[in-house]
């Protein structure tokens, strides 16, 4: 193990707790990806890893390198911002594509396509 030795005990414990939490949350997310029955249920599971999992590990990394180099090391924030922005975009693309495919095949499991002319206009709360 090549872990640095000049790290205070509390920093080592905090880093290990954060890393373990992130890894276990990611594992739970992918187990959900494996076990859920339906594609639309499966979309939700891996986002546990992309939000809290990667957040915990990035926090641990930031904390560890900041203590080790005794100056704020914040470049992990870049990854956090990038992942936070891109994950909803890709999953929205993917679910749109899946819905499009299910509708075009006439799959009975998804609700019918809503068109704006047929459906009644939904009244928002802030319109009142």
């Amino acid at each position: 193990m090549m872990v640095a030795t000049d790290l205070p005990d509390w920093a080592a414990i905090l880093t290990s707790v954060l890393v373990l939490m992130g890894a276990i949350l990611t594992l739970i997310g992918t187990v959900g990806l494996l076990r859920f029955k339906n594609f639309y249920a499966r979309v939700h599971a891996p986002t546990l890893g992309t939000t809290l999992g990667i957040g915990c590990v990035l926090l641990a990394s930031m904390f560890y390198f900041s203590i080790l180099q005794s100056r704020p090391v914040l470049h992990e924030v870049l990854i956090a911002i990038f992942v936070t922005i891109t994950t909803p975009i890709t999953l929205m693309f993917l679910v749109n594509a899946a819905l499009h495919r299910d509708w075009s095949e006439g799959d009975g499991h998804v609700p019918a396509k809503q068109t704006w002319k047929k459906s009644k206009p939904v009244k928002d709360d802030d319109e009142v």
Binding site: L7, R42, P46, I54, F65, F93
Partner: protein
């Protein structure tokens, strides 16, 4: 047991968990009944790989792995959105 040993062990356990997560995603990628399941599993695989490389970075104490994580994140985003667009339209570049 010193705190450094706890940190080393927990990093090893975290790497094991992440490899297991990548195995779950790979299994879903092989088994997934439809194409969108496989694309979703590829996305989860990319994310688990990113976190695994980050834990390697903490374990070795170098910040070199950070650039690798950034590249993996970028490639994951481009790959997943291109595949989703392909599933939607049947072609990626119009």
């Amino acid at each position: 047991m010193s705190a450094q040993a706890i940190l080393g062990w927990s990093l090893n356990i975290a790497e094991f968990c992440l490899v297991l997560a990548m195995a779950c995603a790979a299994l879903r990628m092989l088994r997934g009944p439809r194409a969108q399941d496989r694309v979703l599993a590829l996305d989860a695989f990319y994310v688990s790989g990113m976190i695994l490389v980050l834990t390697f970075g903490i374990e070795t104490g170098t910040t070199v792995y950070f650039e690798a994580v950034l590249v993996i994140a970028l490639l994951g985003f481009v790959g997943t959105s291109a595949l989703a667009k392909f599933l939607m339209r049947g072609e990626t570049i119009e």
